[in-house]
Every structure is written in structure tokens, then in C-alpha cells.
Symmetry: C2
Subunit: 218 residues, 2 copies
């Protein structure tokens, strides 16, 4: 699952400015912006654009990678894991994830990737898949294993448990956001959603003291 190339691309300051301009345009117009519009927005010339990124697809790819490189996810310290720290880790993971997928930038990126995957035009779909659902699985895996080894989680197959976690957290938020339903839950709303999702998840897969223990109000 980790065979995909994680080419770490470095961009200059100026290039990052350009890519941020592209991100802004994506949020505003989806795929419907021209290279000329990028130049206007970023105050750069077309030639520079083509020198740096090759063609339009290259520019979009770079933009996706640039955005992906910004996203970081919380981890879990394996040395001192307790019922509460595990619950907290899952919860903040869920919060981060919900914040990402309901953000305008992420929605725009996902829209772009999805439509490119449909046109079979490039690797954008693969890249976003790699940095989206698959990255979530990769990052969640060690946390789950730590939990299992500590006797706090119990599952037959880690893949299925992770998928369940994904489903409980994301539910229909992502697809509704992508389909243009404007409202994004507030910060406290997201926290509530995450809390509930984690509680439900632990009802299903918690073990020992985590099972059936309601979340603390902290």
C-alpha cells in the first residue's frame, strides 16, 4: 500500500505564491479557470508558468502536492498509552480529518481530482486518493495497533476497523460538501460530531475499560 511514490517536491517562495493563487482560483471557479487567469492573479507571466510546470496538468499536479504537503495529522505516543490518551488521539484525529474535508480548499481539490479521474486525464485522482483516504488509513494503522497491543481495542481485521472508523467520522459530510451544500459545521459542531463518532466506534471496537465507557466531558 505504500508503493506509491511520495515524491517530495520543493517549491521556491515565488512558486508557492503562484500555487496558492491557483488554490484560490480553484476554490472560486473549480476547474474553470484559465492559465491567463492564474497569471493575472499571481502577477506572473505565462512563460514562467510553462517553464516551471510544463503544462496545465503539471500546474494542477504541483498545486495538489503543495496543498497535500501542508496537511499534518496528529499521532500517538506509543510509550505511555492509556484509555484516555487513546480516546483523545482518536478524537483529535477525527477532528482534524473533519476540518480538512469540510474546508473549501479540500473540497475544491477533491472536486478537481474527482473530475479528472473521470476524464482519465492524469494522475490527479491517484494523488488525492493517496493523500486522502489512503493516507488516513496509513496514519491510523499504527494508532490502532498500539491500541490493540495495549488491550484497549479489539478487532478481527484492522482494515475493516479502520474503514468503520472512517465511515463513522466522515459519514455523509464529505459528499455533501463536495456536492455544494454550503453549510460547514462550526468548530464546536465538528467536535461534537467527532466525539460521537469516536464513542460509537469504541462501543464497537473498544476493549477493557474503553468499552461502554462514555466519553468524559473533559
Amino acid at each position: 500500500m505504500d508503493i506509491a511514490v511520495h515524491k517530495e517536491v520543493e517549491f521556491s517562495v515565488r512558486q508557492r505564491e503562484v500555487l496558492d493563487a491557483v488554490l484560490a482560483l480553484m476554490v472560486e471557479h473549480g476547474d474553470g479557470f484559465s492559465m491567463a487567469a492564474v497569471c493575472r492573479r499571481a502577477s506572473c507571466s505565462k512563460e514562467t508558468l510553462y517553464n516551471w510546470f510544463g503544462d496545465r496538468d503539471g500546474l494542477l499536479t504541483a498545486t495538489v502536492q503543495w496543498q497535500a504537503s501542508k496537511v499534518r495529522m496528529p499521532g500517538l505516543d506509543s510509550s505511555a498509552v492509556s484509555a484516555e490518551s487513546l480516546r483523545q488521539a482518536l478524537r483529535s484525529f477525527a477532528i482534524s480529518w473533519l476540518e480538512v474535508i469540510t474546508s473549501d480548499v479540500s473540497a475544491a481539490l477533491n472536486r478537481l481530482a474527482v473530475s479528472h479521474a473521470g476524464s482519465g486525464k492524469g494522475r490527479l485522482g491517484g494523488i488525492v486518493l493517496e493523500h486522502g483516504p489512503l493516507a488516513m488509513r496509513r496514519r491510523l494503522s499504527p494508532i490502532f495497533e498500539i491500541g490493540e497491543n495495549a488491550g484497549l481495542l479489539q478487532f478481527d481485521a484492522i482494515d475493516l476497523a479502520i474503514r468503520t472508523f472512517f465511515g463513522l467520522v466522515v459519514a455523509d459530510w464529505q459528499i455533501r460538501k463536495m456536492l455544494g451544500e454550503a453549510a460547514r459545521p462550526s468548530a464546536s459542531g465538528i467536535e461534537k460530531i467527532a466525539r460521537r463518532a469516536v464513542d460509537e466506534f469504541l462501543l464497537l471496537y473498544g476493549a477493557g475499560e474503553l468499552k461502554n465507557s462514555k466519553s468524559s466531558k473533559e
Copy 2:
């Protein structure tokens, strides 16, 4: 929630042929097909196309509605509901839903709607949202209420329960499909997924004899 207009549109046989051609093109090329391509595929003239559907957006809208009108979902007879019949209803609902969202046609449609929602171009996003997640909620609602009245289900808020059901069933299948991950679960695979999702759901929201009762192998 039911305020949206369900304009039942009738199409002639010939028009349906054209719309099916559009569907096929969508599956193959996403949004990247021309009106001329539609004409070639359907052996009709541009003028006819524009007479019938107004413009490109109208054609796409009609196509989405035509496809949506094809999808039907299983219901539940409220008179004789038992633990087993409710479980079965949920299960076949889950199976139908999974079959729909992992189909190529649905993926193509969702891609289109999603990218149009991003460009703010039309009502496609709203239409698909209406016939997708929101339709699922609408159709699931009465089933849940029947279950609650029969003492088979127990939830604090029906909306949240439905969202949980959605999450457990759909999980990451839809987004991965939309992002171009080719593999679609087999029929028996889908059944397994549905069975597991319903089991998990009933662990969380089942009451009485449904709670903690593992699913029968039927």
C-alpha cells in the same frame, strides 16, 4: 426537507435513447465530451439537441434526472414488522445503495455533479444531492420510525442515527470509487459489506431482541 421540486419529467423513447448515449459518454469521458460527440453517438442532429434540451447544461440536467428516475429503493411493510424483517430491510437497503454508488454510471454522474457544484455552473450539484444522500435519508426515515415504534430500534435523534447508518454502509467506498480506484466489490462482497454494516449499526442502535444478536446466515 421535501421542499425541493421533484419535477417529474417525461421523455420520449427517442429522447431516452439520446440520454442513454450521454450517460455512456459520461462514463467514458467524464465531462469532456462535446455536443457533436453526443450527436455522433446518438445519430441525431445538433439542432434537435438544442431544440429538446436548450443548451448543454439542459442536456446534462435531463440526463441526471433520467438516470435518477431509474433508481428505485426497497421499502418496508409497516404492518408486519419483525426483528428479522427489519434487519432484512436494512440489509437490502444497504446492498442497493452500495450497488448504486459503486456503479460506473453513478460515479460518472457524481463526478459531473461535483465538478459543476465547484464551478457554480448550475443546479446539477443540487439535483444529485437531492437524489443521493438526501433521498437516502428520506427513504430511510420511515423505516427507522417503524423500527422505533416496534421497539426494535432506539435512538436519541433519528437524523444522527441515519447519518451513522450512512457512514457505516458507504464508508470510504464512494469517495474511492469517485477518485478512480478501479476495483468494485463483487456482488457477494457487497453483501458481506452490507451485512457487516447492518450488524454494526444494530449493535449501536438495536433494541430488544435485535441488540447484540448476530445476523443469521439466512
